[in-house]
Amino acid sequence: MEGWDPSTKSALTQIPLLSTRAGPRDGAAWTQRLKEEYRALIAYTTMNKSHDNDWFRISAANPEGTRWSGTCWYVHNLRRYEFALQFDIPVTYPATAPEIELPQLDGKTHKMYRGGKICLTVHFKPLWAKNCPRFGIAHALCLGLAPWLAAEVPILVDSGVLKHKDDESTSAES
């Protein structure tokens, strides 16, 4: 965990750890894991709100809890940039982490795989592997997506690749 900023570290320590090693094909054990996922997400969202650092919305997109969708946003130069967020729980979960997708940014940055999957290889995957099965969706957002947004959004905005939606509506119609 060297090299991580203190606020991320302190947030991380307050997200409840998970314990059930179960994936979507594991029946009742998956339901148990899903409960732990919810508990961690509730704790993390509550904490973000209380620290005035609310930055995402996420909920299960199907009853099995294998597909999730929502939004996330990042504030740069006092303007809010919001993106749709989605991912599937892989069959080999939790051995492999969810591949978080921001479809609107597909093709706009090389820190991304095809289909809008953000690149997590270096900063996040080793952490996930070391902490399996204790890390869940909340940890993936905190340690995977949040640092990615913090690194990429300012570059995309400053280089003109990403436009704020207020500016875009005027230029797109011209």
Partner: protein, 300 residues
């Protein structure tokens, strides 16, 4: 599969089928274009492996060999999962993120290490990644490295299917130094993949039969040259079977340690996750209640 040779405007699987049928129209080809890491995609993938083309009786899988040519860790783990569950022999191939080295690996569930037995390490190359990255993808790409690795994979597959030469259990390719390391990897008795552990147990159970077959073969060969090799054995030298060596060694290791020393790692073959008991067992809440709580937070 990643290929830039095929035409634009169609899936690369369909393009591959088209190209391959032009080369050999007698081969029956099926193409699937799907994400095998999702629950639904995995089911389709498993069904495609189980369909019995060659009518191999008594086996869960209907194919002779699976070649994995995917470009990410998640998909490899899924191929590994499917092949472990089906007891399907497969070959894994890959090129490193810096595009200058690669490997091929033979995986026989239960007999050799599975892909989850030895997790890959992130190795720093000391080269700035940005100098290697290609536009649009989160990794470097060098077609020559891919070509070499693909050639090695197909050669190994031919040797395996047509039963000639030596089928490499692992062959690495370091293009910067033209170094080709080989090695064999035994399965990890603490592997986190349950299907791998089951295949390992089955493999151990069939060991006596395999040993007997090997012994019979050896005897049949040595019966031509009957009689002791040396008339006297002054130093009591004897040939010991590998498995006997293992039991001899473990006897020596498991003995009491000198005073003041303790084993740092658990000695049990199976690692028990002690964390389970501590906190999360208290999660007795109803799933719907938890969903409501998160929805309420999302709405506010």
């Amino acid at each position: 599969m990643d290929n830039h040779l095929f035409s634009v405007g169609m899936t690369k699987t369909d393009a591959a089928v088209q190209t391959l049928s032009d080369i050999n129209p007698d081969v029956v080809l099926e193409s699937y274009s799907l994400n095998i890491t999702t629950v639904k995609g995995f089911e389709v993938f498993m069904e495609s492996l189980k369909r019995r083309f060659s009518q191999k009786s008594g086996q869960k899988s209907g194919v002779d060999l699976v070649l994995s040519c995917v470009d990410n860790y998640e998909a490899r783990m899924v191929v590994n999962q499917a092949c472990n569950e089906l007891g399907q022999t497969w070959m894994e191939s890959g090129v490193s993120e810096d595009a200058v080295s690669g490997h091929i690996q033979l995986l026989v569930p239960g007999e050799t290490a599975c892909f989850a037995c030895a997790p890959p390490l992130v190795v720093a190359s000391g080269v700035d990644e940005r100098t290697l990255k290609r536009e649009g993808v989160c990794a470097a790409s060098l077609p020559t490295t891919m070509g070499v690795v693909a050639g090695l994979l197909v050669q190994n597959a031919l040797k395996y299917l047509l039963k000639f030469g030596y089928v490499s259990p692992y062959l690495g390719y370091n293009s910067l130094k033209d170094f080709f390391p080989t090695m064999e990897m035994r399965p990890n008795p603490q592997c986190s993949n349950n299907a791998c552990i089951e295949r390992q147990k089955e493999y151990l159970q069939t060991k006596p039969a395999r040993d007997a077959a090997a012994k019979a073969k050896l005897e049949a060969e040595s019966s031509k040259t009957e009689g002791p090799l040396h008339m006297d054995n002054e130093w009591n030298i004897s040939v010991v079977d590998d498995s006997e060596m293992d039991t001899l060694n473990s006897c020596g290791v498991s003995g009491a340690l000198p005073e003041g020393l303790i084993h740092e790692l658990p000695t049990a073959e199976k690692y028990h996750e002690s964390l389970v008991t501590e906190e999360a067992k208290t999660v007795e809440d109803d799933l719907e209640e938890l969903q409501r709580q998160l929805d309420a937070l999302n709405a506010s």
